[in-house]
Each structure stands twice: as structure tokens, then as C-alpha cells.
Amino acid sequence: MISVSRVVKSYGSGSAQVRALDDVTLTVQRGEIFGVVGQSGAGKSTLIRTINSLEQPDSGSVHVAGRDMTSLAGAELRQARHDIGMIFQHFNLLSSRTVRANVELSLEITGAGRSERRRRALEILELVGLQGKAAAYPAQLSGGQKQRVGIARALASNPKVLLSDEATSALDPETTRQILDLIRQLSKDLGLTVLLITHEMDVVKRICDSAAVMSQGRILEQGPVEKLLTTEKSLLGQALFPLGEIPETSGAVVEITFTGIPTDRPVIAQLAREHGLDVGILGAAVETIHGRQTGRTRLELPGDEGTVAAAVADLRSQGLFVEVIK
């Protein structure tokens, strides 16, 4: 649905030049929720703005729903943007308009008639759980409600794609969860493709099917979240399971990741019994990723190389993802 290919974008010139996007290639499948994570200044904002051409890349191409966005201008570009909704960290609602009129702005732009605008605005406000707030002004709403208006406005014109620019970063944890669940629900119900950028790992954990890790204008890794979790040296895996620094140990250190496996299986006890290893637990983290208990345990395996290798092979044969750290 979204395909970004070899996109480069620089700001400034000469020695002060900054490469906000450095040869970025990215694919988002139809209907999935794709999260781009990275610290501020990583180039995420620039990336999401190239998708609807708020930023023009220096080179490379951006395709959305079959349209080559970089080649569009004027009326064609505006038409293409009707298919791409966008929500923002600071909501960006018009303070002079009521909630309903904010949503109707989207429909005024697409040229809908007065009664159709009203009907559609009320319909979509109900969809985001804001029935009864149509006549309120944004200043009278909480942050979560404002973002719901933002979502309603973005979706009023029935777009195929929703772009989310740090949409939950200004919200408290509980409200963040509600908004993320709403996005997930809408994505499922409306068949929306969602591309979001965030610096919060919780967002990826809660709703993303796929993710990319970005740093200094480059994409370091990308793919389905579950696949990244079982990829050696995955940055996303390390970020989702913060086990801290690797301590000084005499034995080997391995990390076992459990995905989609009942975590009550006595893996460690088995290891000790069958391989005669005095297993030490150095750390563990359990996270709910996509509603599924997923965990990673860091173990110390004191023993000679052969015993450790046999133990690791045994674990792998049980379908566990094992990474030998040292």
C-alpha cells in the first residue's frame, strides 16, 4: 500500500547539511499497522511527511495506493491526499470551529454537500466515541477527546491510509492505550493501512504488526514485529526487552525469547536436569505484545563449550529462539 524507495532528503547546505533521510526504503502492506521507532531527530517526521508530500524528497520515490506521490502536484496531489488521512501530536484542530465543524472541514475540502457533510460528520464522530460532543469547541475537550476529533477529521473522507505523527506522545499512558486501541479497531473495521511514527516502545508493543527502527536518517531494521523479536541482534528486540548491560560472568550468556509459547513450560529446570548446568538467571522481561505474552530471559550457563552448545541446540530444537550473547 505504501512503498518508499531509496528516498534521500537533506536540509541546509555545505558543512551544515543534515541528511534527514539517508537512502530510506520501506514497504507497508495493505491493512497492516506499521510503526517507525526512533529518537527525536532520527528523521521519522521527515519520513512520514514525504508519504503525503508535505515534504518533497531530493531523490527516490514514494508510492501510496498505486500513486507516485513525488510526481504529483496541484489538483492531482490534493486528490491523492484525500486518500491519506493524517493525525498529529498536537492535534491541530481549529479553535474557532466546533468539533463537528472541524470534521466537516475535511468534507468541505472534498466538496461534499451541506447535508452530506453533517450526516457523515455525525456518523464518524460516533465511530470514534464522541457522540454528544459535536457542538463542543476543542478547548473544552481533554487531550484524548481532541485526538479522537483529529482521527474523525482524518477519516471523514474515507482514506485508505492513516498517517500518525506521534499521535499519542502528548497523552497520558491510559489515554494513549485507549487511542491506540481505537486506531487498531478502526484499522480492522475499515481496512485501513496505518503508518505511525513514535518514540514510545509501548506503541509498537500494543498495536504494530510491523516495525522499523530508525536512527540518523537510516532504517536499521524492519519487518514483522514477531520476526524481529526472533532475529539475532535485533535492536527492536533489545528495546522491547530491556535486560540492561551484560554483567561480568565466567560462563556463557544466552538469551531465550518465548513467543507464542506457554511461558509455564519448565525450560530452565529441564536445562539443569538434562545437561547438568547450574543455570543462573541474569534477567528476564515479559511483555504483552499484540495481546500475547512474550518474554525474554537472560541466562548464565556455566560449563564447557561442548555442554553449552549441546544445551543451546536442544533449546532450539524445542522451537525456542536462542541468542548466544557471549
Binding site: 503525503n52 508535505l54 496531489l77 490534493r78 486528490q79 491523492a80 491526499r81 484525500h82 491519506i84 488521512g85 493524517m86 498529529f88 498536537h90 491541530n92 484542530l93 481549529l94 479553535s95 474557532s96 470551529r97 472541514l105 475535511s106 468541505e108 475540502i109 472534498t110 469547541y137 476543542p138 478547548a139 477529521r153 482524518a154 473522507s157 498517517l163
Partner: protein
């Protein structure tokens, strides 16, 4: 000196002042309309032709945008820096060309408008600058045209600030209109000057002053009220 004991003294005074007030209303009213139209346009252009602005590249040319921005900025500064009494005199040939005479309420509209436009334009500029950039981006992401963004976002969101700016402008124009009156523009200034000053009548002078104070109070309060009612921040 006007004879205060004349039985028609107060009736004449009322007549004269009301006639003056009528002329002032006409002069200020028309100048105000012209000031709103041109001041709004100039103020909007001042903001939007800046780098990264909505009209940074009118007709695809950044050079035209820069030129427009600089020229308007210089013109506005000129209009703001020339004292009104001098501007009035400077404009006499232009006024004569435009309305055929430089005396009378209609002729007074020309210098008043030319003084009002840059004044209001700066206030418009300030008001529009206050509109968060994110709102423009949001409208762009919805596929809005530049005209839609201009009218439904930038100007619409600045309306409370514009209402305040407008009342400040009206007050300024009323003040200027009194000055035009002193050099043949008619209106309340003319009454105060000819009856109050040249013919030594404190009644006429105070009558005009009280009316002017009331007018200024009225317009300022109206502006404040409108700004409060229109703002939903």
C-alpha cells in the same frame, strides 16, 4: 464669538455637531471599509510571502514572493513612519487626481485610507502569525487548496485578533479624521476647529470632545466584546 444668549444657540450647536458627526461617520466608515479590504490583503501577503509561507512562490516564482514581501514591507513602514498631517499634504495631488478635489469629506477618505491600510495591515500580520503552523499542515494533509487554507484556516483562526485590531484601527481613524477636518475635510474636527477654536466657543469644543470620547469608548468596547465572543481558545 458666538452669542451664547441667542435663543437658537443650543439648537444650532446640536445641529452643527450632528452634521459634523454625520460627515465623520461617512468619512471614517468608507475609509474603514477600504482599510479592511486592503489591510487584510496586505497583512495576509506580508505573512504568506515569507520563506516557507503559503504564497512563498506565487505563480511558482520565489523571486516574485521575495519582491512582493519586501515591497509591501517598505510601503507599510513608509505609511507608518510619515506623520499623518504631512501624509495628508503629500497626498493632495493624488487625492485631487482621484476624487477631483482635496477638500470635503469624500476627499478626506483618500489620506485616511492610505494611513489606515498599513496600520491595520501590521495588526493583521500579527494576528495571522499567531495561528499555529500545524493547522496549515493539517489542512494541507486534507488536500486543501491555498485559498481554502487562507480563508478557512489563517483568517478564520485570526478573527478574534482581527476584531481587536479593527477596533484599534477605528479609534485611530477617528483621531485622524479630526485632523483632516482641520484642513477642510469636514466632520467633527472641522466643527471643533472653526467653532471651538476660531470662534472661541468652549461649548462647541467640549461638545465635540465628549462625542469623540464616547465614540472611541463605544468602538473599543465593541471590539473587546467581539473578540471575547469570537474566541474559543
Amino acid at each position: 464669538m458666538i452669542d451664547r444668549n441667542d435663543p437658537y444657540f443650543w439648537a444650532d450647536l446640536l445641529d452643527t455637531i450632528l452634521k459634523g458627526a454625520g460627515e465623520t461617520s461617512y468619512t471614517v466608515g468608507v475609509s474603514l471599509l477600504l482599510t479592511i479590504v486592503f489591510g487584510l490583503a496586505v497583512g495576509v501577503l506580508l505573512v504568506t510571502t515569507e520563506a516557507g509561507g503559503l504564497l512563498a512562490k506565487p505563480f511558482g516564482s520565489r523571486l516574485l514572493g521575495i519582491a512582493l514581501n519586501r515591497v509591501l514591507d517598505v510601503l507599510v513602514n513608509m505609511g507608518r513612519s510619515i506623520p499623518f498631517i504631512i501624509l495628508m499634504i503629500l497626498l493632495i495631488p493624488f487625492t485631487r487626481l482621484l476624487v477631483g478635489s482635496f477638500i470635503g469629506p469624500t476627499a478626506a477618505i483618500v489620506p485616511l485610507t492610505i494611513a489606515g491600510v498599513p496600520f491595520f495591515a501590521r495588526l493583521v500580520e500579527i494576528g495571522i502569525r499567531e495561528v499555529p503552523k500545524g493547522l496549515v499542515e493539517a489542512a494541507q494533509s486534507l488536500g486543501a487548496t491555498r485559498w481554502t487554507i487562507l480563508t478557512k484556516v489563517l483568517v478564520a483562526e485570526a478573527v478574534p485578533a482581527l476584531a481587536l485590531g479593527l477596533s484599534t484601527t477605528v479609534v485611530g481613524l477617528i483621531g485622524y479624521s479630526a485632523m483632516v477636518g482641520a484642513v477642510g475635510g469636514g466632520g467633527l474636527g472641522d466643527v471643533a476647529f472653526r467653532y471651538g477654536y476660531q470662534r472661541y466657543s468652549p461649548e462647541y469644543m467640549f461638545g465635540v470632545v465628549i462625542l469623540l470620547v464616547l465614540l472611541v469608548q463605544l468602538f473599543q468596547s465593541l471590539g473587546n466584546f467581539a473578540a471575547r465572543r469570537l474566541s474559543h481558545r
